[in-house]
Amino acid sequence: MSENILEMKDIDKTFFGVHVLDKAQLEVRLGEVHVLLGENGAGKSTLIKILSGAYSREAGQIILEGRELPQLSPKEALEEGISVIYQEFNLVPYMPIYENIFLGKEYGRTILDKKKTIDQARKYMERIGLNEDPKTLVSDLSVAKKQLVEIAKAISNSVKVLVLDEPTASITDTETKMLFEIIRELKEQGIGIIYISHRMSELFEIGDRCTVMRDGKYVGTVQLSETDEDKLTRMMVGKEVCFKKEENKVIDMSEEVLKVEGLCYKELLKDISFNLHKGEILGFAGLVGAGRSEMAKCVIGEYRKDKGKITYKDRELSSSLHKNIEAGIVYLSEDRKDEGLVLIHTVAENIALPNLKKLSSPFLSRKKMAQKAKQYIEELHIKTHSHLSEAKDLSGGNQQKLVIAKWIFSEADIYIFDEPTRGIDVGARDEIYNLMYDLLEKGASIIMISSDLCEIMKMCDRVAVMKDGEIKAILENNEDLTQERILKYALSGGEQYGN
């Protein structure tokens, strides 16, 4: 029985009244690679941010080498030997490797001891097999090598617990093999490694044990050599009962409103093809980074697609965003604050923004604008002091309703919802689902991107599952559809890993 280098016990955290961590726990042994697994929003990142001092915890203990840690700042956590390497690196691109490694703890009082710094940097670089001149600028390095610089930086901080967040997301297979070699070496040196990844094949290759989280709660810890992908998937999904989908009476499978063929965009989308029928809700499931939002943005013309043909009602869709919006294809971003609303403007102004033409004859009627705003506030039960309140003063759910109001007013034809209920409480969710049904009744069709599998199963007629920029499967929502099945395509594209 090896000893625990790190224990996190009963960690609690709430954001705006939402319990994101509820008695979460994690134990990492000396010299083990511990995988942290869970769906999007399961609370992995929050837990890690609490460990690294980026967030404060509301309850619970963090015990490092048998010693309980108080609430630490990120800098103090680093000094305690806790290093997190995020997907977005914390490196200064136009500085050389050695300066990056020693940033903030340079040798020399006022004048830098450059020679000593370089020598020390070289020592750490050798330990992880980074064969580069320490004077090379970080901006000239490949992603994989930047990652190694981050690791070297962590070692130089005499790291005890190293967290790697999706370390293989943007590196090649060969580089992954090299990274694994280094991870094994660090393990030998007695460093505890927390490894976050969704790639099943990798987890079984590099991981020793795995802790699964769901909805901010601890589900269990298993020995990876004694489990398989199916078991892990079941732990991730749980036994949550999802409401079965109601019958969709307005769907017309003979009428195709949107057809996407061979859509490609940079490295992010590879040969995406699907169609959308009148009155249908087509779901897009997948993990964060699978390319779902990019797909939506290419369809509406926010991003310029590299290849592919998009047909809307028998006519090829232009690549001009405002023309597509005029034609009736709209996108309701997952990022309401940044892409959905003008937060410093009033509720009425936000509702009016895409509909100014309708409100003008030829000049904008302020009266009509107020009238329409009040109408939608009432119809959608938007809780706001008045139509002259600023959008930023509304709660998340009401902001989302406000975004929907904008587009109901515009009488669009195809609505692309991106995570329509993220961060919204349960009551408001049902209201949003009902609004979506109303849209279908009015003759619209819906594409719904969601990471909430229950929501997908409740709402969608068909589900496209994406992984790494590809559609792995388009599944009918019938009795055979289970959360496990969707997740399996999202995690491994349908292949089986483990024992």
Binding site: L343, I344, P354, R366
Partner: protein, 318 residues
């Protein structure tokens, strides 16, 4: 649930500010034995404020989109010298004015295209154009001023309506009324606000953000050119160095008027009040024989103070 329009505290402060400054300067002048409240002084203030306030319309539009415009002062200078040369060479005043207006539009379009389509930061673009326009103003007449114009030119500013009121009051009134209406009651006006409020949300709402942004810079250039015509007519003398520092006056008028330098918020009408405050201060200081250098210092301080206050307000809101 109808709520009354919120009483805007900062707007009240602004309007009270005008009165306070006016009274303060009147008193200060009395103390040093000068008379501030005379007709000629008032006319002076109006003439000065009219030019600043017209440039401020353009500056306000740009600032509302979240941009900044530094080239307007140089465009005023270029406009003046261009008009001077044309009129001196026998081109009718009306035609010369049209040419001046066109030159402002060209400078504006140059800025606008670079900022919106070229994605060059507005600060850099307009700083560059500021140098370019000033250089061109010096170049076209080898740095020499032009003077000796026909009567028609001075009529543009010199006319008095109802025997007393300077005609520039009417120019300002008309331009401001049209722009205030435009901002509240046209698609373009609302789009300008949305751009500064949240450019991503605007684009995804179908606003043609690049076109709107470009139009704003074109309008800004046009207003600078109009100010150039007014200055030329008032001085009946074209100096290639004219308009120096006017961009700062326009920005100061805008921020005193309460338009947020981060864009999306504020009323253009208040920029006029800002311009009046500035020129009252300037004229007052001149009457009291305070060196004009102080005014430049004050303008700079006012801009920094206004932005500081704005940022603090934002932080508190978070």
């Amino acid at each position: 649930m109808e709520t009354k329009k919120k009483v805007n505290l900062s707007e009240i402060t602004l309007y009270l500010g005008v009165i306070v400054i006016f009274l303060a300067i009147t008193v200060a002048c009395k103390v040093v034995g000068k008379d501030f409240f005379t007709l000629s002084n008032i006319f002076n203030i109006i003439a000065q404020a009219s030019i600043t306030s017209i440039i401020a319309i353009g500056a306000s539009l740009v600032i509302l989109t979240g941009g900044i415009e530094l080239s307007v002062g140089s465009v005023v200078g270029f406009a003046g010298i261009l008009g001077g040369i044309l009129i001196k060479n026998g081109i009718p005043v009306a035609a010369a004015c049209a040419a001046i207006l066109l030159s402002g539009i060209v400078f504006g379009a140059f800025n606008g295209i670079l900022v919106s389509y070229g994605k060059v930061p507005a600060f850099i673009t307009t700083l560059g154009t500021m140098q370019i326009a000033r250089g061109m103003a010096l170049l076209i007449n080898a740095g020499q001023p032009v003077s000796g114009f026909p009567q028609g030119l001075s009529m543009i500013m010199g006319t008095r309506v109802f025997g007393k009121i300077p005609i520039s009051v009417f120019y300002v009134a008309i331009f401001y009324l049209v722009v205030i209406f435009m901002m509240s009651y046209t698609k373009f006006g609302r789009h300008v606000y949305s751009l500064g409020g949240n450019v991503n949300a605007a684009r995804l709402s179908g606003v043609r953000v690049k076109r709107v942004e470009m139009m704003v810079y074109i309008l800004c250039g046009a207003f600078a050119a109009i100010a150039g015509i007014m200055l030329l007519s008032r001085l009946t003398y074209a100096d290639p160095n004219a308009g120096n520092g006017y961009e700062m006056n326009a920005i100061a008028a805008t921020v005193i008027g309460g338009i947020s330098l981060s864009g999306g918020r504020g009323r253009i009408g208040n920029s006029l009040v800002g311009a009046i405050i500035l020129s009252t201060l300037t004229c007052g200081l001149q009457i009291m024989n305070v060196a004009t250098y102080y005014q430049t210092i004050i303008t700079g301080l006012v801009i920094i103070a206004a932005v500081f206050a704005d940022k603090r307000k934002e932080r508190r809101a978070e």
